[in-house]
């Protein structure tokens, strides 16, 4: 879910052969540390907080599980939009030149996907907690923490100037891969176990 906000201007800064910051690490270290703090905070709170089994429910669905599965599915579909629009923006799709609205599509699909994940994550962390009783659940818990950490890093890196060209694609790929694996270990499992239901 690579919400890429500043419309990329690779020619101007990121791929500028002349402009090279004296130390790229200096630009990235603070966002990376903040991302680590976010991931660790979610994980430790989920582990230490006594899971309540209860969180606010959203009307119109049969159970918190189905709400989460559908919101996660919305986020996963928008994540595909994210990857598609990012590829177009970076000129990686042959014979497709980036239309003027592609930046807006990328930004808004990212924003909506991110907001859609928030109620899911709050329910996970508050009602269920960080758990490790099966491989599926452990992978899901670890990636859930990683996802919000990596997303935070990406958002903090976006406005910075002088970021090397590989950084945003890598961060976007990590965020996307984490989200898709999270979806497979939760919503996909939910739908295949309980059937596709509202």
């Amino acid at each position: 879910m690579a919400a890429q906000f500043g419309t990329p201007d690779p020619q101007a800064t990121r791929r500028d052969p002349i402009y090279q910051p004296d130390n790229v690490a200096k630009i990235l270290v603070i966002p990376a540390l903040i991302g680590c703090v976010v991931a660790l905070t979610i994980g430790l709170y989920g582990k230490l907080h006594h899971a309540t089994g209860i969180a606010v429910n959203i009307a119109g669905f049969s159970s918190p599980g189905s709400v989460k599965a559908w919101l996660a599915t919305v986020a996963a579909v928008l994540a595909l939009v994210q990857i598609g629009s990012a590829l177009v923006m970076y000129g990686k799709v042959p014979r497709v030149s980036a239309p003027s609205w592609i930046g807006g599509l990328h930004k808004w699909s990212g924003r909506i996907a991110f907001i859609a994940t928030i109620p899911v994550a709050v329910h996970c962390v508050y009602a269920l907690g960080f758990a490790s009783y099966s491989t599926r659940v452990l992978i899901h818990s670890v990636l859930g923490c990683l996802f919000f950490g990596a997303f935070t890093v990406k958002m903090l890196v976006l406005p910075k100037r002088g970021v090397p060209g590989w950084v945003l694609p890598v961060l976007g790929a990590v965020v996307f891969a984490a989200l898709i694996l999270i979806w497979f270990t939760s919503a996909y499992w939910f739908f295949s176990t309980f059937g596709i239901k509202r």
Binding site: A3, F5, G6, A51, T52, G53, I54, A55, V56, N57, S62, S63, P64, G65, K107, G110, R111, F114, I115, I118, P119, A121, V122, H123, Y126, A127, L128, A131, Y133, S134, R136, V137, H140, T152, K154, M155, L156, L158, P159, S186, T193, F194
Partner: protein
């Protein structure tokens, strides 16, 4: 300094998360029980409430430790004015259509069984403690229960999902039934919950020793002779009854 839009996105997400977190805390608090050694004891649980809940069986129950009600058996205790039975069967559906739960207490042992009548089932064990119970089973399944005479409520966590329940005490033939049998060379473990209205919910675990057991719907249990027909093989069930101690 003008905030950049990615920062605004992050802050929006954080604000939404905090809002939902606070709302969740309120939701969890309001759903917490007020009786039986729960996390939020309510001193206002009055003897009138207790005797109303206990109906005809315990009209004289009071929270005073010096008064012993003749109608309450000596083993029963009170907590916050609620009568805490030592022997009871609670069954009922969990909220959100997730299946059913049975909680059976007999002295110092409690057995709980959750199943959805098809793919998911878990047996859990715990130790009753003054109206509060924590039970644990395989694969991280666990439940927290507050119970009193006639009523139990709490949460059950099974395979990553949590269900809230508020269930009533029942007598035979409603209750919990179990069968462990060898069918076609494999050990199968089946459980049935018979609800107060006679509805049966049952699941059968084809290989109880598998790391991630897969359950399926149990065959109909005949309550008159406690047998079920599992694909041509007759399996026999036993009642797990807290009132008689059967199955403990």
């Amino acid at each position: 300094m003008k905030l950049r839009s990615p920062i605004i996105t992050l802050l929006t997400g954080a604000v939404v998360a905090v809002g939902l977190w606070i709302a969740s805390m309120n939701a969890a608090t309001s759903a917490t029980t007020a009786y039986g050694g729960s996390a939020t004891p309510t001193p206002a649980a009055s003897p009138t409430v207790a005797s109303a809940g206990a109906a005809s069986t315990a009209p004289a129950a009071t929270p005073s430790p010096t008064t012993t009600s003749p109608s309450v058996s000596p083993s029963e205790t009170t907590s916050n004015g609620f009568i805490i039975p030592d022997h009871a069967n609670y069954v009922g559906p969990v909220q959100a259509g997730g299946g059913a739960i049975a909680i059976v207490l007999h002295d110092s042992i409690a057995i709980a069984y959750y199943c959805n009548g098809k793919t998911i089932e878990e047996w859990m064990k715990g130790v009753p403690a003054h109206g509060h119970l924590e039970l644990a089973g395989k694969n991280g399944a666990h439940a927290e229960v507050d119970y009193a005479l006639g009523h139990a409520r709490g949460h059950v966590h099974v395979d990553g999902f949590s269900y809230t329940f508020s269930v009533i005490a029942v007598h035979k033939p409603s209750g919990l039934y179990q069968s462990i049998a060898v069918v076609r060379g494999a050990t199968v473990k089946a459980g049935w919950i018979v609800l107060a209205n006679g509805t049966e919910v049952g699941s059968v675990e084809l290989d109880p020793n598998a790391p991630a057991p897969k359950a399926q719907a149990a065959p109909q249990l005949n309550l008159t002779n406690l047998t079920a027909n599992d694909g041509g093989v007759t399996i026999t069930a036993k009642s797990i009854d807290g009132e008689t101690g059967s199955g403990f």
